[in-house]
């Protein structure tokens, strides 16, 4: 069954939609959640919330890419759970690379007048100006939260190349955001 047919199932309010989604993208989503939470149990539990959220979102949403949509929901759910775990001090294995991003941040505040979507759109525009290697490595690291070693393996790069691409892309993103008027 392809994505279009699965989306139609959601529109028909058929619960088979969730089963098909889980079969098709469950593994990928769990791996993203696991990268964020560092716990298989937490990752699988967060996926239940994610499927429920997808069920509630489609319709009215009709995503161009079901995979990206479901993965994004799974990512958001896992991040929420991470916040909860952090508050409860339950995050022994979380491997989310905050420290790397903190390197490019000088101001610890959170801008109140800019939405996540707006800034995300801008980051997307920036990424499109980068080489495919740099862009995909960046997305794997900070969207999928893959380990550097896993990215290197996935793309057949050396780990040093992955680190170098990440470092350069972060620096360029920082300059880009400053030029766009963002105080980071």
């Amino acid at each position: 069954m392809d994505d279009k047919e699965i989306i139609e199932l959601y529109f028909d309010r058929s619960e088979q939609a969730i089963r098909e989604t889980a079969e098709r993208y469950g593994g990928l989503c769990v791996s993203i959640a696991y990268n964020i939470l560092g716990s298989r149990e937490d990752a699988e539990e967060s996926m239940n919330d994610a499927y429920f959220a997808v069920w509630n979102a489609i319709p009215p949403a009709k995503p161009d890419s079901l995979r990206a949509f479901v993965c994004k929901v799974a990512r958001n759910m896992a991040l929420k759970r991470l916040e909860f775990n952090t508050a409860k001090k339950r995050m022994p294995n979380a491997i989310i690379p905050f420290a790397e991003l903190e390197e490019m941040i000088t101001d610890g505040s959170s801008p109140s007048d800019v939405s996540d979507e707006e800034l995300g759109k801008l980051i997307g525009i920036f990424l499109k100006t980068q080489s495919a290697d740099a862009r995909c490595v960046f997305v794997r690291r900070y969207w999928y939260f893959d380990k550097v070693s896993d990215i290197a393996k996935r793309y057949s790069f050396g780990e040093s190349k992955v680190k170098s691409l990440l470092s350069r892309t972060r620096n360029r993103l920082k300059k880009f955001l400053i030029m766009e008027g963002y105080e980071i």
Binding site: P63, S65, R67, I105, G120, Y144, K161, L165
Partner: protein, 290 residues
């Protein structure tokens, strides 16, 4: 701005970017291409020198290959020394093991040139008769019938070097009076080869390991030559100083090639082969024909 805010914002990038990172398969780090381009430059220099000396013209092929993007592979690997002159038989075309390996590796013209054009795969080879018949005779008898021609063919007569496709190499016929040998122009060597070579010194081309892709990332096109020259100069200076071979500096050919030629002690060459700064060490067969 806080890192967690940035993480959330990155989560809002376009889904197409997310899909791309999942599906992306980097173009194979095409060292073959880089190597081919470098080798093509070497060939052009060598053939050019020969041709210019004789006729002032370059080799072209009859079907207009000169107008296309020519890619030439010359990196056959050698683990042992074979005197093909001694094993070649009359009436037979001997394609050396190194060349056979190359031909197997490049059965399809799959290499994509950096500008996106499909590249035609050519191989820089020597074609010669082990019995000593002149290259001019070899050309007229074996190559010309395949539709291969020089605008002026004296270049081949002097060097024995020609650029052929896989199909052309496999189509070469050997008349009964000749014992033809076809071998790659440049043969990469390793330590096993050094064990069998039987001489104290060898004249080799040492190609330095430069990650041009990384070096040139984000560098404006107009600044690239300067960046490469500076890097190659620094790298070769450091390399040659370490081996006490001052006075030799690497050349930057303009086609992603940083290399130098010299006659060195076999033990020193073994050290160079093991050095991670070395991309490869090659026997430059073109020297035999000069």
């Amino acid at each position: 701005m806080r890192a967690d805010y940035l993480i959330k914002a990155i989560g809002c990038i376009n889904g197409a970017l997310v899909d791309e990172a999942e599906d992306y398969r980097p173009k194979r780090k095409n060292r073959t291409w880089i190597w081919a381009a470098a080798s093509a430059a070497c060939l052009l220099i060598i053939v050019g020198a020969v041709c210019l000396r004789s006729s002032g013209r370059f080799l072209i092929a009859e079907d207009g290959h000169a107008d296309k993007h020519i890619v030439v592979h010359t990196g056959g690997k050698a683990e042992r020394y074979t005197d093909y002159t001694a094993v070649a038989e009359k009436g037979t075309v001997t394609i050396t093991d190194e060349l056979k390996t190359l031909l197997d590796q490049h059965k399809e013209p799959e290499e994509i040139a950096p500008d996106g054009r499909m590249a035609e795969v050519f191989f820089n080879v020597h074609v010669y008769d082990a019995g000593g018949a002149g290259a001019d005779n070899v050309y007229r008898t074996c190559l010309e019938p395949l539709g291969i021609r020089y605008e002026e063919h004296e270049g081949f007569s002097e060097s024995g070097i020609i650029s052929l496709t896989r199909e052309q190499i496999l189509a070469v016929k050997c008349p009964p009076q000749y014992a033809l040998v076809i071998e790659p122009l440049v043969v990469e060597i390793n330590e096993k080869y050094l064990d069998t070579v039987g001489t104290d010194t060898l004249k080799v081309r040492v190609i330095l390991n430069v990650d041009f892709e990384e070096l040139l990332e984000g560098v404006e096109v107009g600044d690239r030559s300067e960046v490469i020259e500076e890097h190659v100069s620094m790298l070769s200076g450091e390399y040659t100083r370490d081996y006490g071979i001052n006075g030799i500096s690497a050349e930057y050919s303009g086609l992603y090639n940083a290399s130098f030629i010299g006659e060195f002690n076999v033990e020193l060459i073994a050290q160079m082969i093991a050095d991670p700064r070395t991309e490869r060490v090659c026997i430059d067969n073109s020297e035999k024909y000069k």
